[in-house]
Symmetry: C2
Subunit: 235 residues, 2 copies
């Protein structure tokens, strides 16, 4: 007797605005019996809130607890989550994992993908990245022509940030959070403060665009970024 | 007597698969009286072919001729295109410019934006970038954690490509075309050939994934890219 397993989907659901889902993500979201999504320790899920209005109401919902403390290893969390999903997939139930932005671009989905993709048929549906959405929300072209474009995490040491930024034409620094002051020091050193634009929670209802010099460094969320647009765009 | 101008939309329509349009792009596409799209000298339009199935049939269609010869200045083309669109916008007709991928990321839309956005109310709708779609099509996580991520154009000199690639954890080289051999030489020099993945026309019906060592250098299209995924993903 042949037996079919379920299909695994990494579903890019975009940066926050529910209207930035793709037609493909919406179709799959509505068709699968099982929806999985990351939750924080407070049981909230940004990903779930983005798609909530589209759910049929009769799908199995599987919250996946992810680590949010930097002091503990995240691998046991992913192992546990993968095991949970294996149970459904092995029963022939297809599972869509909701991924904010784009699954394969700085997404925690990647850690589930490497545990599951060799065992089950898998499709990764690309989504609108928050980086692209931030540029649109700010009304700032990001890069053009033959620009060298860079994405950096704010957690990197200042000397690494500075050396890489010095070699790029346009850049986005992600996950600003508590690293705001460090990043601003680097931007000042490189004379990039005048060009830099700050945005938090791009396209979400909580989106804020604040002139970078007016940002309160004590109150910068993880989901914030600084864009340094190309100098070639307007020249 | 007050007079309302039209609204200008830069509409990200994604990398090629019509199902990768966002719900927002589809809504605006169907609602505007005027659709503008780039065409090549042969009058073909990739952007138009992506959305053709969604058009109502009673919209004004404005082809925009873009330069494709490197030997001539592109600015007069954009001036002419902008003037064409001003005529509709001034009459109170909203215009959606179709943009492959994401409008503010290496998009020719940027050159129209800088000519029109200060004169008319403008909204830029982000789309799925071909870079993100390529990673999904290849089944390769692009970057994770605190990776340094880079996008480079293949047209850059080999020493620039090499110096930047050496400082990144993950990279995408776009617009490969006739620069394929030069790029491969750089990748060999940096011992990146084993990791590099080649794809052309990602998510389009003409999509091809070819092992990089089997690519015919004489037949590489402009819409192709080489991905160098993060080494941290699988470690």
């Amino acid at each position: 007797m042949s037996y079919r397993t379920g299909h695994l989907y990494g579903l890019g659901i975009g940066p926050g605005d529910p209207e930035l889902l793709t037609l493909k993500a919406l179709r799959i979201l509505k068709s699968v019996p099982v929806i999985a999504y990351p939750i924080s320790a407070e049981k909230r899920s940004l990903a779930y809130s983005i798609v909530e209005q589209y759910l049929r109401g009769n799908q199995i919902e599987v919250p996946i607890l992810l680590p949010f403390k930097l002091t503990e290893s995240s691998q046991p969390y992913y192992d546990k989550a993968a095991n949970k999903l294996v149970a459904y997939l092995s029963q022939g139930k297809s599972v869509a994992i909701l991924c904010e932005g784009n699954p394969f671009f700085f997404g925690t989905f990647i850690y589930l993908y490497i545990r599951l993709a060799d065992k089950f048929p898998t499709t990764v549906v690309p989504g609108v990245s928050s980086i692209m959405a931030s540029a649109s929300a700010l009304g700032i072209p990001l890069s053009c022509s033959n620009d060298i474009f860079l994405v950096l995490s704010a957690i990197l040491p200042p000397e690494v940030l500075a050396s890489r930024l010095a070699l790029a034409d346009a850049a986005v620094i992600i996950k600003i959070g508590r690293h705001f002051c460090k990043v601003c020091n680097v931007l000042q050193q490189l004379r990039l403060m005048e060009k830099a634009k700050f945005i938090e929670y791009a396209t979400m209802s909580s989106q804020k665009i604040i002139p970078i010099k007016e940002v309160n460094p004590d109150n910068v969320p993880y989901f914030s970024m600084i864009l340094i647009p190309s100098h070639t765009v307007f020249s």
